[in-house]
């Protein structure tokens, strides 16, 4: 007989699944020496049933200069229920894992305050910190370059590669290189680029953008991956065993790594004090990219700076716990200079960041450490998939970053939100995300940058919100935090927009009030 939620919960102490049908006794995932199922990294808390194959819904249709229609793509994602449920479940589970980590650290709120203050300080003195980083890195033998925009970044990297006659570049995941259209550029100049992160490699082989900044292929089922690998790597199309697929990718990527002329990484942090940059991964692929070829290039957004090595203690404690609910990534690597006989370059990239620094309402978005917690908790993101945003960044953080790159194209995105404030509650650097989303709505309205027609705009996030029963059920059973304003979100929809300046108020309950009232989510916690 099937166990009820409560029976299962009583045994393992974990919250019930959002979609009970996805439960299964074993998923074949890695176990400890004593046979315990492990849940570190982005692994799920409970084993999940592989859904039967279903055609993968593709992302937003991109038309040149036409605003992205998130709602249309979201509807197609919802219409693929196997994908949608798996996506919803996995991201919600990451959120739950994050909460458990948070509860294990009494100083969690103090760490968030510290992280926010350190980032505010750094951004308010960014010029000085960048100059210090440059001086230290140069003194350590790193070549430092500066790029004003994505195109300049791509040209600089191309120049470095050409100087070395490099034909093949292996790289680890970097959202910055997604911003700059790096792979596309390199294809044009005949340099082969190999992504080495499993999720990112899947997306590269399928010619899709990453749908999530931390788990790039989270919107795909194993059957989708089997199809992509069969088509591109020649694997057995009838074998969608996850171990088989991962092992095939390892075996097929290894020779490419060994034969690469150069390696590229991003960076999670750059430390002014020592000229060090820090890269966090679970697979160790960034360390292979950096340590196997003789040439290492790191692309770093100028907002990644932090002043001191000791500050890493705060950020590394928060990053993976917020992102995956795992205490740390498997690898946290600190690069302070080239290795013996090697060469190291850093490209510091602006690409709109210095302009954003001057925007009173939005500069704090530069505190973002790209953990993805706001995406994992967002009911709209979880149910619409990252590709439905048709932009480099998706989810709540995407809503506030994307319009800075192209106001018109991404003008509808700030409407793909319920303004429930859950994103703000989980953000490790305390960005008031939902307030910025609201401020964007106002800013776009004032400059008449809203490109979609009135009807289309009223539907923004409509596909997700028009299933109020599901939406309510999800938040009521699973999330104390989301009780902030669900009625507002569902009953007001977005049509108050049509009343001109008469915008809905942002949520009245701040995180602090909520935290005080609920002791950090005990209320209604499962």
């Amino acid at each position: 007989m099937k166990e009820s939620h409560e029976q299962r919960r009583a045994k393992d102490g974990l919250p019930a699944l959002l979609h009970e049908a996805l439960g299964t006794p074993d998923d074949g995932g890695a176990k400890s020496g004593s046979g315990e199922r492990l849940t570190h990294g982005e692994a799920t808390s409970r084993p999940l049933q592989p859904p039967p194959p279903e055609r993968q819904p593709r992302g937003a249709k991109v038309h040149h200069r036409r605003p992205v229609d998130h709602n249309e793509a979201a509807q197609r994602f919802i219409d693929a229920p196997r994908h949608e449920k798996m996506h919803d479940e996995r991201l919600w589970d990451l959120r739950q894992k994050r909460d458990r980590q948070m509860h294990g650290i009494p100083e969690w709120e103090t760490l968030r305050e510290l992280a926010s203050s350190i980032k505010q300080h750094t951004l308010a003195h960014l010029g000085d910190h960048l100059e210090r980083f440059e001086a230290q890195a140069s003194a350590n033998g790193i070549h430092v370059h500066w790029a004003q925009d994505g195109a300049e970044h791509n040209r600089i990297v191309h120049g470095i590669l050409s100087d070395h006659g490099a034909r093949r570049l292996i790289k680890s995941k970097s959202m910055l290189t997604e911003e700059t259209g790096f792979r596309h550029y390199m294809q044009g100049v005949g340099i082969e680029v190999i992504e080495t992160d499993l999720g990112e490699r899947i997306q590269q082989l399928d010619d899709e953008a990453p749908s999530h900044i931390v788990v790039p292929a989270v919107h795909k089922l194993r059957s989708d991956v089997a199809e992509v690998f069969a088509r591109t790597l020649g694997t057995d199309p009838n074998n969608d065993d996850v171990h088989y697929l991962a092992e095939q990718q390892r075996e097929k990527t290894r020779p490419l790594i060994l034969g690469a002329d150069a390696g590229m990484t991003g960076a999670n942090f750059a430390v002014a004090e020592t000229g060090t940059f820090v890269v966090c991964t679970n697979e160790g692929n960034a360390d292979l990219s950096a340590n196997v070829p003789p040439l290492h290039i790191a692309s770093i957004g100028i907002e990644k700076l932090i002043p001191r090595i000791a500050d890493l203690g705060v950020f590394i404690r928060l990053l993976s716990r917020s992102a995956l609910g795992s205490p740390i990534t498997q690898y946290t690597s600190h690069f302070r200079g080239p290795r013996h006989g090697g060469e190291m370059h850093v490209v510091l990239v602006d690409n709109g960041r210095s302009a954003r620094l001057g925007e009173v309402d939005f500069w704090e978005s530069l505190k973002c450490i790209r953990c993805g917690a706001c995406m994992n908790t967002c009911p709209v993101y979880r149910r619409s998939g990252g590709l439905s945003y048709g932009a480099t960044y998706s989810g709540p953080i995407g809503l506030i970053l994307d319009p800075t790159f192209d106001r018109r194209r991404y003008s509808s995105l700030p409407f793909a939100s319920t303004l429930n404030g859950s994103c703000t509650n989980v953000c490790p650097v305390k960005i008031d995300i939902h307030k910025q989303i609201f401020a964007w709505r106002k800013a776009l309205a004032e400059t008449h940058d809203i490109g979609l027609g009135k009807q289309a705009l009223m539907k923004a996030a409509g596909a997700v919100l028009s299933h109020p029963k599901l939406y309510r059920a999800a938040i009521a059973t699973a999330d104390g935090a989301l009780k902030v304003l669900p009625d507002f979100a569902v009953t007001n929809r977005l049509n108050t927009w049509t009343q001109g300046r008469d915008m809905p108020e942002p949520p009245r309950e701040t995180f602090h009030q909520w935290y005080e009232r609920t002791h950090g989510g005990e209320e209604g916690a499962q």
């Binding site: 203050s117 996850v242 013996h340």
Partner: protein, 190 residues
């Protein structure tokens, strides 16, 4: 003006006004359950790592009796694949087991810190199929914040926290060890 000066100028024009002082970093109490070493090992295991209670010779005989290519960077065990600072990464591609020593352990996370001087060739820690890490139990600190007060981050050109083996759950959240790097990581306390 070149890109550097343009960017820096724009930043200085746009930097938010206000002091925004850099906060001091407090130390927080850490509950190791009364046994720092046990706490370290517990967290190591939760992150997919193993530990071996015994000598390196016993560990090699018991865990990897069939290992053909062994690269050791420690005097405690001599492997059969020479490793020097001049070793090309490609020469380490067929290593079955790499053996090295960590300079720090972190109880909070079960992490070990590997630095370039001990690794001799950084790539060995990623290209080997399995990694054995020796750790002096006196080098275990409580939290990551404590670890970052250590001198290693100012001394070495490369320092990396390894916490368990290479792992991925990018497909449907199913956890797999040995995504790209080592398939297992075993810590041996000395």
């Amino acid at each position: 003006m070149n890109a550097r000066d343009t960017i820096l100028q724009r930043i200085r024009e746009n930097q938010p006004a206000g002091a925004y002082p850099l906060p001091d970093l407090p130390s927080f109490p850490f509950d190791d359950g009364g046994d720092l070493v046990a706490c370290f090992l517990r967290n190591l295991v939760a992150m997919g790592g193993h530990y071996y209670d015994g000598t390196i010779n016993a560990a090699m005989a018991e865990l990897f009796p069939d290992a053909a290519v062994i690269a050791s960077t420690v005097p405690d065990f001599s492997g059969n694949r020479a490793i020097t600072s001049g070793t090309e990464a490609g020469q380490l591609a067929d290593v079955d087991v790499g053996i090295t020593r960590a300079s720090v352990g972190v109880a909070e996370t079960g992490s070990v810190l590997l630095v370039d001087e001990n690794l001799i060739s950084n790539a060995v820690a990623y290209l080997a199929q399995h990694l054995i890490v020796l750790l002096d139990r006196a080098s275990i600190v409580t939290t990551l914040q404590d670890a970052y007060r250590r001198p290693e981050f100012h001394q070495y050109r490369y320092a990396s926290f390894h916490t368990g083996p290479s792992a991925t759950a990018d497909i449907e959240g199913v956890l797999i060890h040995g995504a790209q790097g080592v398939r297992s990581l075993t810590v041996l306390l000395t």
